[in-house]
Amino acid sequence: MGSRASRLLREEEIEEIKKETGFSHSQITRLYSRFTSLDKGENGTLSREDFQRIPELAINPLGDRIINAFFPEGYFVLVIFREDQVNFRGFMRTLAHFRPIEDNEKNKNPATEPLNSRTNKLLFAFRLYDLDRDDKISRDELLQVLRMMVGVNISDEQLGSIADRTIQEADTNGDSCISFNEFIKVLEKVDVEQKMSIRFLH
């Protein structure tokens, strides 16, 4: 019988997620249905393998980095077999970064920044580059991410010069790394709200 969700989402949970992420009721139920269809083990959590089963994500050059963004910090160093799992709340919290920013939200309580604010969107992108999560992008990390994006098609030297140039342009305090603030500064003219948002059909 249970071809559908082994556990239905309770109303209170939907309300909590709504408050935390800003998704609407129908969007949350739709994404829950998506979550359960990805959850092949039917245990209410997703593993990295569940994500890698999506072909369009598997062929994305930065697929692994994006998958990594879903899994909470702190597990990174200790887990050798990478058996960490993400539950639906965590799933929604990460997806919330890509919600479009609506005008009426800009007037809300400024003390708690919504997950889809410009700063948080930039933080998501910054963390894709920052492999060891030490809050700065070193030349080495930049090189590694560049290598993921271009594959074998560009030589080490060319890639090195691209990385050097990029760091030179962004680095203002001379430590040969890009900090989050320097990252924000470099991208201040980019329309982040639009480029890092996914519009939903209702």
């Binding site: 994404l31 369009e56 994305n60 930065l62 990029t166």
Partner: protein, 458 residues
């Protein structure tokens, strides 16, 4: 206690005897005899219309129930696009991102920028929210409820009346329809095995072919009734002829029964053990089907040779092949394997589209075994589908097998109203090949490197 039962014993026996006789007579008159002659009383269509009305009523009740509680219903999207997709190509997108970030001259400014990652991040998260492939391997979601528990997502809004209706439906389906269908299924299969063995004893010749055709058609028609399949055939003038290959999209093993009850085909497949094996061995006595041993399946040349030998013999029946190689959920058509398109025979494409409101025909082989699947089929309301015979196609000059396969696939998808995908159905079980990722990397590199050349020129 024993005294109490005796008078009732006789009565019960008599009643049982009468009801069995009545049942079998009805079975014979209304189902088996029409199957033999290929006529229909139209009972099934009437049944279908009644069911539709009931389903609409049920959906209205659920909507009303939800409105009373002031909640939003879970509304599935049948082709499931939850995202307003961006239709720009990758190049245009990255240029767009850059344009807004710099005020330099466009042509020389396409070098690497930190914002390039936005494109990959967004595409990645979009595919996590919704992708075109993984949803093809699970059953399609329905817009209105069809009184089957297995397809209900809003069941906390059911009123008493609806529950009663559902209970009634359960009783009818499991108490009446299921035993009826199982009996028919056994009759159909039993007759098939028996009669094809009998026909197989005859010497080869026109009489044998004629009888074999009649026998196959009759037994498949009984099986069709065993599933309460209501099939509409379109464009029968394009039916496959001898010496051709018939290709169709694959949703379930029932596809074979549906096509074979309207025409005679030579089946292709691997020899199984057990009941399937018995059926296969007796079928091949009456007319030449192509069965492979397990070891022969791997040898592509052997397979191709046997198929081409068969099509060259114009007295043999058209071959029936499902080039997707696996069952897909009938919302899309996935990559066709090129083997059958290399042989050079005329291809007769057929599109099969099931109506999921009456019972979902998709076989999710990772979830259900064959017997479980058949039981689910036989306890659904009905299997309703449309079959379109498309005009024959041949490989054109300068077209290779893959292009030909894609052309046929596009025609089938267009006719059946299905989404035409390039992805391989094998992704149901296997991982995607690394070559696709390498292609993506190459495209991006071209953007970066290409501009380096421009720079050195200027």
């Amino acid at each position: 206690m024993e005294l109490f039962f005796n008078p009732f014993d006789n009565l019960v026996c008599i009643l049982l005897g009468i009801s069995f006789t009545v049942w079998f007579t009805l079975l014979l008159v209304f189902i088996i005899v029409p199957a033999i002659f290929g006529v229909s009383f139209g009972i099934r269509r009437l049944y279908m219309k009644t069911l539709l009305k009931v389903f609409e009523w049920a959906t209205l009740r659920i909507e009303r129930g939800a409105k009373e509680k002031n909640h939003l219903l879970y509304k599935p999207y049948s082709n499931g696009k939850i995202i307003l997709g961006n239709i720009c190509s990758k190049d245009e997108e990255i240029k767009e991102i850059r344009r807004s970030g710099s005020n330099k001259d466009l042509d020389s400014a396409t070098e690497f920028e930190l914002s390039d990652i936005f494109y990959f991040a967004r595409r990645g998260v979009e595919s996590i929210m919704d992708d075109e492939v993984t949803k093809r391997f699970t059953a399609e979601e329905l817009k209105s409820w069809n009184l089957l528990t297995r397809s209900n997502y809003n069941f906390h809004y059911i009123s008493l009346r609806l529950t009663v209706l559902w209970g009634l439906g359960l009783l009818i389906r499991y108490g009446f329809l299921l035993p009826l269908r199982v009996t028919l299924a056994f009759t159909g299969v039993g007759l098939l095995v028996f009669l094809t063995s009998v026909v197989g004893l005859l010497p080869n010749g026109r009489m044998k072919n004629f009888l074999s055709e009649k026998v196959h058609l009759m037994c498949y028609r009984i099986c069709v009734r065993a599933l309460t399949a209501i099939i509409t055939y379109h464009d029968s003038e394009n039916k496959p002829k001898n010496g051709g290959i018939c290709v169709a999209n694959h949703t379930s093993p029932i596809d074979v029964i549906i096509l074979a009850s309207d025409g005679c085909y030579a089946m292709v497949g691997q020899i199984h053990g057990g009941l399937m094996g018995v059926i296969q061995r007796s079928m091949v006595k009456a007319c030449p089907h192509i069965w492979f041993e397990r070891s022969e399946v791997k040898d592509r040349h052997l397979v191709a040779k046997r198929l081409s030998d068969h099509v060259e013999d114009k007295s043999k029946l058209p071959i029936l092949i499902f080039p997707e190689g696996t069952c897909i959920n009938n919302t899309s058509v996935m990559m066709f394997k090129k083997g059958s398109f290399e042989i050079g025979a005329t291809v007769y494409p057929v599109a099969i589209k099931y109506d999921p409101r009456f019972g979902d025909a998709f076989w999710n082989s990772s979830k259900f075994g064959m017997v479980n699947y058949l039981l689910r089929m036989m306890s659904s309301w009905a299997i309703v589908c449309s079959v379109w015979y498309l005009p024959p196609m041949s490989r054109e000059e300068g077209e290779d097998a893959v292009q030909f396969a894609n052309r046929v696939k596009a025609a089938i998808a267009r006719q059946g109203g299905l989404v035409d995908l390039l992805w391989d159905g094998g992704l149901k079980r296997a991982k995607v090949k690394d070559t696709f990722k390498e292609e993506q990397q190459k495209l991006y590199s071209k953007m970066l490197v290409g501009t380096q050349e421009d720079r050195s020129r200027s």
